[in-house]
């Protein structure tokens, strides 16, 4: 007997073994359908005795094991049911022969046998035979169960007679010695008359009778017989059988205490008894204190006198072992078995049974000791398959007692055994399956979502190892898809725990696998139904923040004021409420202030970094969105090794209007494409992911005839789309041609132009910017690609008076001074133009700059298309920067007495600093023409009688300057 039955449990001792086998050619599925129906008759209550007979069915049983039938009768095949197909009457004799052959295999031990013939009709089938049943087909056999019940009853009759037979001839002359196969040669030539030998025979027979009683449903009798057997065998030191008697005693007690069975899920005797283990244990407890109940056990009372001789002698309650004792006895029995090398299987099975009992008793520590012992039982040369089976069952038992880690350990050993180098055809598939089963023991779950919740928890070293093994097994299985999935999982969840070298290796192998089978986002389903969720590689690269970017200034849409107010008022009836409508944790779904426009390129900025010690190439990085049809424009990037935060801008074009939700991003790294959803990445900071996309608007491009300004306007409160700069002399007018081209896809329908002068410090005369919009508006609507021009007159008229320096000059010079060198302001002006600015800052000590600037912003509001209907518009703004220089300088002032005392002449040296001719007009309307860089001396009359003010001189086309002169 070499192959242990690991599924055995204590209550199997009360069953009778029936083998169901196919004869000849029987389709497997048909056979198992019939087998299933047969096995449904697992318990038969015998009519007259109120006793129950339990049947254990096997469709495969080694005749070798059958030889141990005397040792423990539940190992003995007592019934045979053969299932056969027989097409015609001609085949019948052959089939019948085969059946008889099969009967001979177990011949010695069989009590009865049956043959179920399917498919045969006609004369032969008409015969009424007890041992053969004919059915026309596999589908038409209504009374199979009934037949089996009859069969079981006939077995019971034989069993009962055997029991009576053995029980009564205990005092008979010669009791045969029962022995196990390996003992047979030991007894050759032994003195059969010795007392020792006789006692031995007696004890073994007692034990045998005990077994039979147990099988026949007479628990109490069995207990008594076992007790007597133990006593007898102990006295003769027949350890093997003593062990068996003790085990029988244990089994009977277990059956009594735990009617629910100890096998757990494996076999519930009947629906009402097939309870969970926990309940079974409860039943056990309930039974324990009330052991006296046993006195009215119906099973024992009906045993018409046969058992009376024994059971009345010893109190029944005493016979039954308490839960503590059961374990003690199991230990003892196992230690006796351990003395015999050939009884390894029996010992192992006893261990397994004891563990099952302990599991129900919830005595985990002791159970683990039994299991520990079972590990060391040497069964000689085991085939690889047996080893796997053994490790698997150890794992299962450890699981049963709640040692999940041990269980996982043995399962892993079993998995490794499947692919041991000694096996010619390694079972990678089985190995993989077993490895998967170890996952819970190592607190691993293949769903990456579990990991993103917090930092890593669990025994990293063993987990990494296990994942590597999974990868390898799946590869050898020929399923690179699984390898890729496991490797991705390894990278994703264990990244922080891998060394740099390991990171390199893992990614290299990942690249190798993905070259064969690219990794994707689909759920992989294994043949046994296990689903492997996709693993998005959200750590390659790690994204720290996601920020949606507003459109560039010139493209930002604005809402018409009137409509906006409507919106606000409908929101809440209150103008102000202290209650802030907070929606906590809704940050992600928080709406963002700005809007995107359909058809325009929108940007999202991610801050990413590469945690790997080498350059990371990310391909097809794009946005994942919902709500709006969105055309993502993927980007490829390459991040240097262990880079710091690196900004990446992902772009896309919304194709429809509505609310767009940025759900995440898509990457392709090492050939694994992943969709990383922001919901699953708590570490990502974001200021909101929902943005409104409004219908499309036209786009205008602005170009001007003037050069672009290098320096932005100083008071840059408003962001400008562009600005121009020009230098003008005071009083000069320049035309600025603005070309507006519609570069969008929508018609431009409305256009409004406004302007605003920025610096109000300077006193400005007249209109700075003037234009005529009529012509431009008449060209609307502007189709895409068309352009419209607008001419703007830039006119500067500034007040340059109040130059203190000049006045000082005047004072210094006094009235009499003539022919003074050119005063300082002039010198400045004479310098080349390009340097004016720099010089201006240089001469800031005097805090006087002749160049004045004038700035204005022109705003072009425009709208069109679907966006206009919704009330949106865009605006372009053009900054106009004008440096104004004075066109004339009064270089010298002097007075001349006039003819009348009340008057005097004021002499002014006027210098034209421009390159143009200019007209100077004074209040007496004398025009003076000044040629470029020419100095003239007009005399202006001054009247003393009037308030001591020097009257102004008017320079043609320019503003008036006041000079205060006290006389």
């Amino acid at each position: 007997m070499s192959i242990p039955d690991y599924m055995q449990c204590a209550e199997d001792h009360q069953t009778v073994l029936v083998v169901v086998q196919p004869v000849g050619i029987v389709p497997e599925d048909e056979f198992f359908r019939i087998y299933k129906r047969i096995t449904s008759v697992a318990q038969v209550s015998i009519r007259d005795s109120q006793r129950n007979l339990y049947i254990r069915y096997r469709h495969h049983y080694l005749p070798e094991n059958n030889e141990w039938g005397d040792f423990q009768t539940h190992r003995k095949v007592v019934g045979l049911i053969s299932v056969t197909t027989c097409g015609s009457a001609k085949e019948w004799p052959q089939t019948s022969d085969r059946f008889h052959c099969q009967k001979d295999v177990f011949g010695a031990t069989l009590y009865d046998s049956r043959l179920l013939v399917f498919g045969l009709q006609g004369e032969i089938a008409e015969q009424q035979r007890t041992d053969v049943a004919f059915y026309p087909s596999y589908d038409d056999c209504p009374d199979v169960e009934k037949r089996v019940e009859d069969f079981v009853e006939s077995i019971f009759i034989v069993l009962e007679s055997k029991r009576l037979d053995r029980a009564t001839d205990k005092s008979g002359d010669k009791i045969p010695l029962l022995c196990v196969p390996f003992e047979k040669k030991d007894f050759v030539g032994l003195d059969t008359d010795s007392r020792h030998y006789k006692k031995c025979c007696q004890g073994r027979m007692r034990k045998h009778v005990g077994d039979l009683c147990l099988q026949a449903g007479m628990l109490q009798d069995a207990l008594v017989h076992y007790h007597m057997a133990v006593e007898l065998l102990r006295s003769v030191n027949d350890f093997l059988w003593l062990g068996a008697a003790l085990e029988g005693l244990c089994s009977a007690s277990v059956i009594f205490h735990y009617p629910g069975g100890t096998a757990g899920k494996a076999s519930g005797r009947e629906p009402s008894l097939a309870r969970g283990q926990g309940q079974a244990a409860d039943t056990g407890k309930r039974h324990r204190p009330g052991a006296q109940e046993v006195l009215i056990d119906p099973g024992a009372l009906t045993a018409n006198g046969i058992s009376a001789d024994t059971s009345s002698e010893i109190g029944r309650a005493k016979n039954c072992l308490g839960p503590e004792d059961i374990i003690e006895k199991y230990k003892e029995s196992i230690s006796y078995y351990g003395k015999y090398k050939n009884a390894g299987v029996i010992e192992l099975e006893a261990c397994v049974k004891a563990v099952r009992v302990l599991a129900i008793q919830k005595r985990v520590m002791e159970a683990s000791e039994f299991l520990q012992n079972a590990v060391y039982i040497n069964l000689g040369q085991l085939s690889e398959e047996e080893k796997i089976q053994r490790y698997s069952i150890l794992s299962e038992l450890y699981h049963l007692i709640g040692f999940h880690r041990k269980s996982a350990f043995f399962k892993r050993v079993a998995a490794m055994q499947c692919v041991a180098p000694t096996i010619p055809e390694p079972g990678w598939r089985a190995c993989y399956k077993l490895l998967l089963e170890t996952l819970p023991g190592y607190s691993l779950c293949l769903d990456p979502k579990d990991f993103s919740k917090g930092s890593h928890r669990g025994w990293a070293a063993v987990q990494v190892r296990l994942l590597h093994e999974l990868v390898y097994a799946s590869r050898r299985m020929g399923n690179p898809g699984l390898s890729v999935r496991h490797l991705s999982f390894l990278l994703q969840t264990m990244l922080d725990l891998l060394s740099d070298q390991e990171k390199k290796e893992v990614t290299q192998s990942l690249e190798n696998y993905t070259s064969k089978c690219p990794g994707g986002m689909e759920v992989l389903t294994l043949p046994d139904g296990l689903k492997l969720p996709p693993v998005p590689l959200s750590k390659l690269p790690i994204v720290r923040s996601v920020k949606l970017l507003d459109l560039p200034v010139s493209l930002r849409p604005h809402k018409q004021k009137g409509l906006l107010e409507n919106n606000l008022s409908s929101k809440s009836p209150f103008i102000y409420s202290p209650i802030i409508m907070h929606t906590r944790g809704e940050e992600r779904t928080k709406k963002i202030e700005f809007r995107w426009v359909q058809g325009d390129v929108c940007e999202v900025q991610l801050m990413v970094y590469n945690p790997m010690p080498f350059e990371l190439r990310v391909e097809h990085m794009g946005l994942l969105t919902s709500g709006v049809e969105f055309e993502a424009l993927p980007a490829a990037l390459s991040l240097p090794a262990e880079s710091g935060l690196y900004p990446v801008t992902l772009v896309g074009v919304p194709r429809t209007a509505g609310n767009i939700n940025i759900n995440g991003y898509h990457t392709s790294v090492f050939g694994v494409t992943s969709d990383c959803l922001l919901d699953g990445l708590p570490s990502v900071r974001t200021s909101g992911c929902v943005v409104e996309v409004i219908p499309s608007l036209p786009r205008l491009q602005l170009s001007t005839s003037l050069p672009r300004s290098a320096h932005p306007l100083r008071p840059s409160k408003e962001e400008l789309s562009s600005s121009v700069s020009v230098q003008l002399f005071n009083g000069e007018t320049q035309q600025l041609t603005i070309t507006l081209e519609n570069i969008g896809s929508e018609d431009l329908e409305t256009l409004e132009v406004t302007s605003k002068t920025c610096n109000t410090k300077e006193k400005l005369f007249g209109e700075f910017l003037s234009w005529d919009l009529e012509e431009a508006v008449s060209q609307l609507p502007l189709k895409p690609g068309q352009s419209v021009t607008l001419t703007v007159n830039v006119k500067v008229r500034l007040d340059f008076s109040g130059g203190e320096n000049l006045l000082q000059d005047l004072n210094d010079d006094g009235i009499s001074v003539t022919g003074l060198p050119i005063s300082s302001p002039l010198r400045q002006v004479l310098k080349p133009r390009a340097e004016t600015k720099a010089l201006g800052s240089e001469s800031s000590k005097t805090d006087y700059n002749h160049v004045k600037t004038l700035e204005a912003v022109m705003t072009f509001k425009y709208s069109g298309g679907a966006g206009k209907v919704e009330g949106y518009y865009r605006h372009l703004s053009l900054g106009v920067h004008v440096d104004v220089e004075p066109s004339v300088f009064f270089t010298r002032v002097s007075t001349l007495p006039a003819t009348r005392t009340r008057q005097c002449h004021l002499l002014l040296d006027v210098f034209n600093s421009t390159e143009h001719e200019l007209m100077v007009s004074a209040n007496n309307n004398q025009d003076l023409v000044l040629h470029p860089s020419e100095c003239q001396r007009p005399a202006a009359g001054s009247s003393r009688g009037e308030p001591s003010l020097y009257r102004s001189m008017s320079l043609v086309g320019m503003n008036t300057s006041h000079y205060v002169l006290s006389i």
Partner: protein
């Protein structure tokens, strides 16, 4: 040449070390499968370290069983030293659990007869003291792997002594 391995691991439960008894027991039930993870592992022959990972990992089953076996009411008077967890072919595995459910495991070569129960017990006590010092460090985050040099040197000294 005897080999000694010292391993210490903690669990999530360590976080609850400041709560009162009743809560601890509640936590125990709540964490029906607490994910234990190593805080510190050290073995003398560095090769084949994974094997000890497995040994210690599986020993946790026994540790957990031993802790839960002690009645809840007795939790505060519980003996911290758990004794021999289980013998394997080559090694003996001893366990120790602090009141905050931080587990210490020592794996000793079974041929090392110089280390008896008393020696192991005192080793654990030393370890526990040193671990307490680590926990007193305000810069140590309970639950992080231990990187303290002082702790490391005590462990090393103990292993030298034992071998």
């Amino acid at each position: 040449m005897h080999q000694v391995r010292l391993q210490i691991k903690g669990s999530d439960e360590a976080r609850y070390s400041y709560s009162i008894d009743v809560q601890i027991s509640a936590v125990l039930q709540y964490w029906s499968k607490p994910k234990n993870y190593p805080l510190f592992i050290r073995s003398v022959p560095v090769q084949n370290e994974l094997k000890f990972h497995y040994t210690v990992h599986t020993s946790l089953d026994v540790v957990e069983e031993k802790i839960s076996a002690v009645g809840k009411a007795m939790a505060d008077q519980r003996e911290l030293y758990l004794g021999l967890l289980y013998p394997t072919e080559d090694y003996k595995v001893y366990g120790y659990v602090t009141n905050s459910k931080v587990k210490f495991v020592i794996v000793v070569d079974s041929s090392n007869t110089s280390l008896r129960d008393n020696e192991i017990r005192s080793m654990f006590r030393k370890l526990h003291n040193s671990f307490t010092d680590v926990m007193c460090n305000p810069f140590y985050n309970p639950g992080d792997t231990i990187q303290s040099k002082a702790f490391d040197s005590i462990v090393s000294a103990m292993m030298v002594q034992a071998s």
